[in-house]
């Protein structure tokens, strides 16, 4: 039943997209796209760039409800979330080559599965093909009760020497470790 609903959604998306061919100007999205960069300092070239859609809570809970646990999520809205690594890096302790990937996640109550996939320029997670996975790992979730967020956010943070990409919505936080200086990187 759910599959039928998803197929309908895809069909609608395709029908709507096709209208763009007659140079219809799109309205501004309700869940707009945003960009986050990780740069070692303000002037330097970026190490990582994320382009993602930012849905907002309208009512009720997000995780375990609007975004169900155990199901693949586009980790944003509309077009799949895209990550560019400007050099080889460790992402969640997995070696990832310089390049552009799509990031999907499978949210869970205690931990999330993070998936990097090379099938880029896709809509949502509907075109997800596990054969194109580049990295897949799990990260424990954290809570920040002091600062619940209405809008889904991705940011970078530095904790002493460690860098993280943080996925944040409501009070849920998922800190994905990032490392561009590990000696492991020299071996490839």
């Amino acid at each position: 039943m759910k599959n039928i609903a998803i197929s309908c959604a895809i069909l609608c998306a395709l029908v709507f997209q096709s209208k763009a061919f007659s140079q219809r100007f799109d309205q501004v999205d309700k869940a707009p796209v945003d960009i986050a960069y990780l740069r070692p300092n303000q002037k330097s070239k970026p190490l990582v760039k994320v382009v993602y859609g930012r849905p907002a809570i309208e009512k009720g809970k997000v995780f375990g409800s609007l975004v169900p646990y155990g199901e693949i999520w586009r980790t944003g809205a509309n077009e799949a979330t895209e990550i560019t690594f400007y050099k080889d890096m460790l992402f969640g302790n997995k070696l990832v080559k310089q390049g552009t990937y799509v990031m999907h996640t499978i949210p869970g109550k205690k931990e999330w599965t993070i998936i990097l996939n090379s099938n880029t320029d896709t809509w949502g997670a509907f075109f997800y093909n596990p054969e194109k996975d580049v990295a897949r790992f799990k990260v424990k979730t954290k809570k920040d009760m002091r600062d619940p967020l209405d809008v889904f956010s991705i940011a970078f943070k530095k904790d002493f020497k460690d860098s993280y990409m943080v996925l944040a919505w409501e009070e849920t936080r998922v800190d994905i470790p990032l490392d561009d200086t590990s000696p492991m990187l020299a071996k490839i």
């Binding site: 140079q23 799109d26 501004v28 999205d29 707009p32 796209v33 760039k49 382009v51 940011a155 944040a168």
Partner: protein
């Protein structure tokens, strides 16, 4: 008078609270001029041929070509981060051959024609880091008029063997033809 004072007090408190929050957490709110993505595909299920990632400022009753994007001055063609164009294969952009790759799009608006510039210096903010030596193409694009639109918009229009990239804001439309037959 009392009301104004109360209002400004409240405003100050709200501003202090909100900036405090973003600093502590490093999460920023939604942009006033949100980004958007537009793709050109030869058919619905084909891999993309062109992708544009750009910010969408609103007109908000301003006189665009006086206050916002004055004639003769370089513009980021959007808002915030400079507008990024990805060509997935080699193209002819307004008469100039351009290799597949990622570029920043700038424009110099004018009354009848805009200059469109593709630059290879990517991941920049606005036009502050624009340097002519990174120019890959510099072409003239015609201005036409159409119905009013509030949000700056970029769209594609297929026209026979070529596709037009159309920039639209207020009643201005700027058309840059793109061909793939090289």
């Amino acid at each position: 008078m009392k009301k104004t004072l109360l209002f400004s007090c409240l405003l100050t408190i709200v501003m202090l609270l909100s900036t405090g929050n973003t600093k502590a957490q490093d999460f920023k709110g939604l942009d006033d001029s949100p980004h958007d993505i537009v793709y050109f595909r030869t058919n619905k299920i084909a891999p993309p041929s062109i992708k544009v990632l750009y910010g969408r400022p609103m007109k908000k009753g301003r006189d665009l070509f006086e206050e916002v994007i004055p004639y003769g001055q370089i513009w980021r063609v959007g808002a915030n981060e400079a507008t990024e164009v990805v060509f997935y294969k080699d193209v002819v952009f307004g008469g100039s051959e351009v290799k597949a790759g990622t570029y920043v799009l700038y424009a110099i608006p004018n009354e009848k024609e805009w200059t469109l510039i593709l630059s290879s210096k990517t991941d920049v903010w606005g036009t502050y880091e624009y340097e002519e030596k990174y120019d890959v193409a510099r072409v003239q694009a015609k201005v036409s008029r159409a119905e009013f639109i509030e949000a700056f918009s970029i769209a594609f229009k297929e026209k026979g063997k070529q596709v037009n990239m159309v920039l639209g804001w207020d009643t201005a439309r700027v058309t840059a033809p793109i061909r793939f037959d090289i």
